[in-house]
């Protein structure tokens, strides 16, 4: 499978370096290595979701309870979580770190991913959620740290888009 194991490790290491102790996940192809890494890590609480919006609630609870967490999902999962993001994370000023695989961009071969790929950044803009792309391993550590800092300073959700260049070995 040409999902990059090496770069998945880089992303996982960055999460760990920032004190993330709980990951709520709804997996997709690009995220399989990240999920395995979390599963094998005794220090990480991995919560497998039925639907992504649950993860907003779980992360909010974890944050209020003093545990740093992140959500790991596909961009279509972000679309499925919007009310939770707006009515819980934004309304209640929760610093929510969302790692979102950006399917449906240049190079995408699956037709069913393409609509979501085209709207994800517009939706983030409409929600006034600041985001950055992760498209090569060199900037992952810095951007994850910066995303976490902004989330905690602003008490708002932030997003990192896991892009094809990082996650997929074409």
């Amino acid at each position: 499978m040409p999902v990059s194991a090496l770069n998945s490790q880089v992303v996982y290491d960055a999460l760990k370096a920032n004190g993330i102790r709980l990951l709520s996940v709804l997996p997709e192809t690009w995220l399989v290595h990240l999920v395995s890494l979390a599963e094998e890590d005794p220090e990480m609480v991995l919560v497998r979701l039925a639907k992504e919006e649950e993860g907003v609630g779980i992360s909010a609870g974890a944050y209020l309870a003093g545990v740093k967490s992140a959500m790991l999902m596909q961009n279509h999962g972000l679309l499925a979580s919007i009310n939770g993001i707006v009515s819980l994370a934004q309304l209640y000023r929760i610093p929510l770190l969302m790692l979102v695989s950006q399917r449906g961009g240049f190079g995408e071969e699956h037709p069913w991913q393409t609509e979501g790929g085209g709207v994800t950044e517009h939706v983030l803009d409409a929600l006034r959620i600041q985001y950055m792309t992760l498209d090569e391993p060199g900037h992952v550590a810095t951007r994850v740290r910066q995303a976490m800092a902004l989330a905690e300073a602003s008490l708002r959700p932030v997003a990192l888009l896991l892009c094809r260049g990082l996650m997929w070995e074409d």
Partner: protein
């Protein structure tokens, strides 16, 4: 059974727990019985109270967490029952007040529990180890104290009348409550003070 009477019947125990509620009548009635710093009212993001409770329960296994939910809210996030059952936090009780309507918009919009959907049976089938349906204050009190003592994940459905409080207003802004609740959980994480009574549920 009225929801406020049901809440009153278990208030002594609730007041010592971390309580996360849904929106609407339940938080207003719980607040009217006496607010505690360990009570958190999730206004508006319907369905997510159980997920917030799960996040707290997994993060802080030493705290007893109670989620106060409703039939309409739970039906919006039914998958949450399967996630709760999957991780089975021993420190979480999911209490669902089932009045068979979306009460805050009137009594005309019934939920699927009015036509036979059985939330306790759904919880059982999801894998929640301890479930039950209560129709009187005494039944609820027994089931609730039993679940606290058992120290395992429970889902208790309390059938209540479709009647709410005179007002849904509570004199506590949601942001004030959010910061107070977070501070309370942080303080509970500190080493116990000499005056703390042994055996208190938090």
């Amino acid at each position: 059974m009225l929801r406020v009477d049901a809440l009153r019947a278990i208030y002594p125990e609730l007041s010592r727990c971390i309580v996360v509620t849904n929106m609407g009548a339940a938080p207003a009635e719980l607040f009217s019985l006496g607010h505690q710093p360990g009570f958190f009212y999730v206004w508006h993001s319907m369905g997510l109270a159980s997920s917030v409770g799960l996040g707290i329960a997994l993060s802080r296994p030493e705290l007893q967490v109670v989620v106060v939910d409703g039939d309409g809210s739970l039906l919006m996030n039914l998958g949450s029952l399967t996630t709760l059952a999957r991780y089975r936090p021993a420190n979480l009780i999911h209490l669902v007040f089932d009045n068979e309507v979306l009460l805050s918009v009137g009594r005309s919009f019934t939920t699927a529990t009015a036509t036979g959907s059985d939330l306790a049976a759904i919880a059982t089938a999801s894998g929640v180890p301890r479930t039950g349906t209560c129709r009187t204050e005494e039944e609820l009190r027994q089931a609730f104290t039993g679940a606290l003592a058992a120290q395992e994940l429970a889902c208790l459905v309390a059938k209540v009348e479709p009647q709410g409080p005179p007002s849904y207003f509570i004199d506590l802004h949601y942001l004030e409550s959010r910061f107070e609740f977070q501070r309370h959980l942080r303080r509970l994480a500190a080493p116990p003070m000499a005056g703390d009574r042994e055996g208190d549920r938090r």
